[in-house]
Subunit: 306 residues, 2 copies
């Protein structure tokens, strides 16, 4: 039988003793100078710099955290060359023992959704070799089912956008309908999918994206979705703190993974690390920021005692 992604993720979090996901968002303007060179206008050279940068981040974080989350957008911005680089980054991360959550927020009608699902989900069968993928729910249940079916068949996972971290997420997600905000309808669907396919951890393979910037909703949704893994963006540069994400965890410290992108990969630009490490020692800043985030989460939750 195929091992469930919910179990694979629980094991990785337990093994590392922390729930940190490092977001690989290689923004050109923030890359260390020595990687940028003079290649600002050449998409292929830029893609090459992204690949090198992300692989060097992976070298630092692979011994420390359970997973990375490449952001497809920055690679796609470079055209086909960017996608070649993304493929290499995914494979490098896997080879270093990391789980890979592709942040693509894909979505389409059923028969097309299946193509996305087959393309991204599964370490062995898919072209992209990913462990999980983020998906967007606006098209409805029949657009999510093909992703869910492929994920279950291949031991892969999904994170469905439920309540996102951006200031404007309320425009649609908070709209009241039948006496509840829209995100609760999505949450109910996701929880039903995960609760129907749980392993020993008590968590299924169909997760939810819930932003660190909305601690009240984190608490509300944790209660409403007891079998659902949360992928929590918004920690760090978007303003979320370790205290803010406490409600994402169950009482044992399980049930959530917390993403930090810029706050880790561009830590050499943060006030507290700039003087100590500077740009020349940017990888040491990545290590320090990762360790600091792990320590903060361990101090606030039970994740270190799993």
């Amino acid at each position: 039988m195929v091992k469930l992604f919910g179990e694979t993720l629980a094991e990785a979090v337990r093994r590392c003793g922390n729930p940190v996901v490092v977001g690989l968002d290689p923004r050109w303007e923030q890359l260390p100078e020595k990687l940028v060179g003079n290649s600002a206008v050449d998409f292929a050279a830029r893609a090459g710099a992204y690949e090198q940068f992300c692989c060097e981040v992976i070298d630092v974080v692979a011994p420390l955290v359970p997973a990375v989350k490449p952001q497809a957008a920055f690679f796609e911005e470079c055209g086909p060359a960017g996608l070649l680089a993304l493929g290499k980054v995914v494979d490098y991360a896997r080879a270093q023992g990391l789980l890979v959550i592709m942040d693509g927020k894909r979505n389409d009608i059923g028969s097309t959704a299946e193509a996305y699902a087959r393309g991204y989900l599964g370490r062995e069968q898919s072209a992209w070799h990913c462990d999980a993928l983020t998906i967007s729910p606006y098209l409805g249940a029949d657009s999510l089912e093909p992703f869910i079916n492929v994920a279950h068949d291949r031991g892969a996972g999904l994170f469905v956008l439920v309540k996102t971290s951006n200031p404007g997420s309320g425009m649609l997600q908070d709209k009241l309908s039948d006496g509840e905000p829209l995100y609760r309808a999505v949450a109910r669907y996701v929880e039903a999918q995960s609760s129907a396919n749980c392993g020993a951890s008590g968590y299924g393979s169909i997760g939810a994206v819930v932003g660190a910037t909305y601690p009240e909703q984190l608490a509300e949704l944790r209660a409403a979705m007891p079998h659902t893994w949360f992928l929590v963006p918004g920690y760090g540069s978007q303003g979320g703190t370790a205290k803010d994400v406490v409600p994402a965890f169950d009482e044992n410290g399980l049930g959530a993974v917390i993403n930090n992108s810029r706050g880790i990969i561009f830590a050499h630009q943060r006030a507290e690390y700039k003087d100590t490490f500077g740009e020349a020692r940017w990888q040491e800043a990545v290590a320090a920021a990762t360790r600091e985030m792990i320590a903060s989460l361990r101090a606030e939750t039970n994740v270190g005692n799993l």
Copy 2:
């Protein structure tokens, strides 16, 4: 001043005398046998077959219709090799004089949405050289604004998912809130964007996706969105007919482009063309199906008299 996409699209529809968009959805199982060969399991060979197939479709339809809509999912299913093929298909379509609407249904929070927008939008500045992109609105207005800003800067267009063609689209889109279905809130936002930036055609550059399978909503939204181009999927194999899409047009026959994917590109498998053309003459079936759709739309609307 940059030419507005809304005007570019109006001119292309007028020049061709029809509003047909040919959807490039290269499903492996349906490709003509001679393109498939023995390469079913090799992603690179499969991507090569997709490229060849799509370029041969383009050869047939470029003299007939204003635009093509490549479906990113099928190319992404083949991994990085698929994206290389997609890039070549886009460039080939542009070289043949077609507008290219990338169907990627991209979406993300603002700072990341900008990367998608910069990557796809604009014939000259972007890595993908596309005229327009489909986007998904679940994350809210601040996730759409970066796309809209880049589109306006570069004379490119967008089509925001409003009411999609799939049977399950109602799950979220039809939820009643403040006395109206959710898709109306999205529609209002899109119309405000388009009406603020209209050219002589009366239509702006920020369009809406509204499915042919929901003729009542087409009529309702046409009335509510008088400055908004509609991209209408669902014609043909999803069940939509020329009669169904009549409400998408204004009284002059402008305001909508109608997509047909499988019904055109795999026309050699349709009952009415199978015997006449067969697989060996699949390109002739593409031409016949395209001409038939053009004739049907001209018979039902004023699009032929623009």
